[in-house]
């Protein structure tokens, strides 16, 4: 009997869970469709933005800040795009005093500006690597690096993500394993291979005189160059104390970051690393040199770019006024509106600085340019129009979302950041973002709708109730889940009602006594309904 009771309770909970999950998803889909349709009628901010484009301050703010080798700063204002390609894009070039110094198409530009280290192009982050491992309907993908001759594939090196090493196979008759490539280089035995460390990023290119890709492989603390054709691994950079934040390269053998053939500036191959402790590492070749740069206060680490020529090592810093730290606009829709009013709707100061780096890693300011970025066109009317559709649709969201968000806000927001995402994945992040979008932006309307749904549930359930505790539990459930809760309640509790033969009010059939007058259900009179008669 006890087992039956447990089973019954488990079954009820399972049924409620299944039903409310399906209905929450359906309600969310309905909110999204209706919200987007209503939002499509919002045009006011676009008109304002068209007016802003003509503002000279906006032109200065949006121009590309380009730096000449002598330290001068130019503002290159792009005048639209050309269908003939980037070389034919029209530009106006101004100096820092807003004087027009040149106008024409990109390929005719008479100035040669400094080129800066960039993120690895065509790179694959650990986020993308995880997407490769998503199960899908065709199994997951593998990272296989082929070693090719001019006509065929000779070897294949497969990445084993469990061991963080590469396993090599002969790709011809006979097959078989060649060996292992790991952080210690090529080994024939698996026991000798040491893992690279968890992959964060890799980029690939094919060098000259080869048909096989090489990899630049970044982990949390190291940066390798792997040559599969020669079975060779080079450690380019290692940070033992702190994890790597980003790695940028310039004039690397890979074409995407090498200097243009027409360039007259003699660049040195450069790797620029930023580690989590705020240190900038510059590793250069021709000649080999390694510097650690510690930025003075006020310089934001992520806005630093580096380049190295035969004559000097330069850093570029792009700064802006930051929003107050307590204004976490992701916390709630109301915080977002506050963010717009107190930060985005005001003019902001921005600047660019050029520093020279000496052999000790010390910085010397060479030049600086300041400007004002005009405020975003936000008025109360625009705010109202932007948020009204969202306020309407989220009035039907469960109030429970706000409670959960308020309690677990920090943890949930962590899941949407890059670091949190690395552990959780796209799916969890999507759920959190969808929940954040669904948060009721007007608690007033949300609670009105919630009270209305509870009223409907009360009206429906009063005549059908079998137990007061159960009835109150259902009302609380409906209140917590709003429209989805009401639909769940109706789906699982809609039973037949009849008129009580004594008080003529509606009553359910799940219990013997009428909930209002206490009269029991009528019993059939013997004789009138019997098909068999007793003697």
């Amino acid at each position: 009997m006890k087992k039956d009771g447990t089973l019954r309770h488990l079954a009820v909970i399972s049924r409620i869970f299944m039903t409310v999950l399906i209905l929450l998803i359906l309600v969310a889909i309905g909110q999204l469709i209706i919200g987007e349709m209503l939002f499509a009628h919002y045009y006011a901010a676009r008109e304002q933005q068209e007016k802003l484009k003509a503002d000279a301050r906006m032109r200065i703010a949006t121009s590309q800040k380009r730096i000449l080798p002598d330290g001068s700063i130019h503002l290159a204002n792009r005048r639209g795009y050309s269908r003939a390609g980037t070389d034919y894009t029209k530009f106006q070039v101004y100096d820092v005093n807003d004087n027009l110094v040149w106008e024409g198409i990109q390929k005719d530009m008479p100035y040669e500006y400094l080129d800066w280290a960039q993120n690895l192009r065509n790179s694959c982050s650990d986020e993308r690597m995880r997407e490769l491992k998503t199960i899908t309907s065709e199994f997951s993908r593998n990272l296989d690096i082929p070693v090719n001759s001019e006509e065929r594939t000779e070897e294949v090196w497969r990445y084993d993500e469990q061991k963080d090493i590469f396993v090599g196979y002969r790709y011809r008759q006979g097959g078989g394993k060649i060996g292992y490539i790991s952080s210690v280089g090529f080994t024939e035995l698996k026991s000798e291979a040491k893992p690279f460390g968890k992959s964060r990023l890799f980029s690939s290119w094919v060098p000259q005189n080869s048909f096989s890709p090489m990899l630049l492989w970044q982990t949390d603390h190291r940066f390798y160059q792997i040559n599969f054709e020669e079975h060779n691994v080079s450690l380019l950079f290692e940070s033992t104390e702190s994890e790597i934040t980003f790695i940028r390269t310039h004039n690397w053998p890979s074409l995407s970051t090498s200097k243009k053939e027409s360039s007259s500036i003699d660049y040195r191959p450069l790797i620029h690393c930023l580690t989590n402790d705020g240190k900038h590492w510059l590793i250069m070749w021709q000649p080999e040199q390694r510097l650690t740069v510690v930025l003075p206060e006020g310089l934001h680490s992520r806005s630093i770019s580096a380049t190295a020529t035969k004559d000097s090592i330069l850093l570029r810093h792009e700064g802006r006024e930051l929003m107050p730290p307590e204004l976490d606009y992701r916390k709630s829709p109301n915080q977002w509106q506050k963010y717009f009013r107190e930060y985005r709707s005001k003019d902001r100061k921005e600047w660019i600085e050029l520093y020279k780096v000496d052999d000790e890693g010390q910085l010397e300011l060479v030049s600086r340019f300041d400007w004002i970025r005009p405020a975003a066109p936000v008025t109360d009317e625009i705010q109202e129009k932007a948020t009204a559709p969202h306020r309407f649709v989220t009035a039907f969201s469960p109030p429970l979302y706000n409670v959960v968000w308020w309690i677990f806000h920090d943890k949930l927001m962590e899941l949407t950041t890059y670091r949190g995402y690395r552990g959780s994945g796209e799916f969890v992040r999507g759920i959190v973002e969808a929940t954040r979008w669904s948060l009721p932006s007007s608690w007033y309307w949300n609670w009105i709708v919630s009270v209305a749904t509870v009223s409907i549930a009360f009206r429906h359930g009063w005549s059908r109730r079998t137990s007061l505790a159960r009835f109150i539990a259902w009302l609380a459930f409906v209140g917590a889940f709003n429209i989805a809760g009401l639909l769940t309640y109706l789906a699982l509790n809609h039973t037949t009602v009849i008129k009580c033969h004594h008080c003529s009010k509606a009553r359910g059939l799940d219990q013997d006594q009428c909930v209002r007058c206490g009269t029991e259900l009528p019993v059939p009179i013997q004789g009138k309904l019997d098909l068999m008669f007793c003697a």
Partner: protein
């Protein structure tokens, strides 16, 4: 003994579908793998790159040799789940033979256990065994120079367990006495959600966990409904 007799009866009734699933998976799966051994497919599997060029990372990623089989395995698994669920729980309703099934000198728990056991055996023996054989062939065959990753084997079992989720959903829908336009098909909708969650996972353990939670939610309801419903 009675349980075994009921089990044999359930297996006998589902045998055509189990045999069909086994045959489809084996024949088409083998043909798919055999095509991979054609020299042209082997030679052109990996791209040749030109010197002095950047390489898109996506060009270095490859679907498993068994990718085509993966789609087949998923479809067959879901199909077998639907077929067995309908055969065991819907046919009796439309034929009006629930009375013959349930009113025996065996309690309902044994009858339900026999049905669920027959379904599990059907999946493991038919689809599971064929999947193991084909994976072994792909791992050992001399023409496959680069064997499939071990992870693929477990992903195949994720697909097979997905079929059990669909089977459970079909069973619950068949046992439900409510109208079709209310919550009768909610079991199938829930199974769709579980499969949707499954295909987005990159951790195998999470994928299995999602499927097992789905099966638990459905089987608990099946058990409670079957044991207490009036037939």
């Amino acid at each position: 003994m009675r349980f075994l007799a009921i089990l044999r009866k359930e297996l006998r009734e589902c045998l055509p579908w189990i045999v069909l699933a086994t045959a489809v998976l084996f024949v088409f799966g083998y043909v798919e793998l055999f095509e991979r051994t054609i020299p042209q497919n082997i030679d052109y599997r990996y791209r040749l790159f030109s010197p002095s060029n950047d390489v898109y990372p996506f060009d270095l990623t490859k679907r498993s040799l068994l990718a085509g089989m993966g789609q087949l395995l998923l479809v067959v698994s879901i199909g077998l789940g639907l077929a067995m669920g309908i055969r065991q729980f819907w046919v009796d309703h439309y034929a009006g033979t629930w009375g013959f099934t349930v009113h025996r000198s065996v309690n309902r728990e044994k009858i339900l256990s026999a049905k669920l056991t027959a379904a599990a055996i059907g999946f493991v023996v038919s689809i599971g065994a064929i999947w193991c054989l084909l994976f072994l062939y792909a791992s050992k065959a001399p023409n496959f120079y680069v064997p499939p990753a071990k992870r693929i084997f477990f992903e195949g079992w994720v697909y097979i367990v997905s079929g059990l989720v669909v089977y459970s959903a079909a069973a619950l829908a068949g046992l439900s006495t409510v109208r079709w336009y209310t919550t009768k098909i909610f079991g199938l909708a829930f199974a769709a959600i579980v499969l949707f969650v499954m295909v987005f996972q990159w951790r195998l353990s999470y994928a299995f966990l999602a499927l097992l939670v789905g099966i638990f939610v459905l089987v608990v309801q099946i058990t409670q409904t079957f044991l207490n419903r009036e037939f």
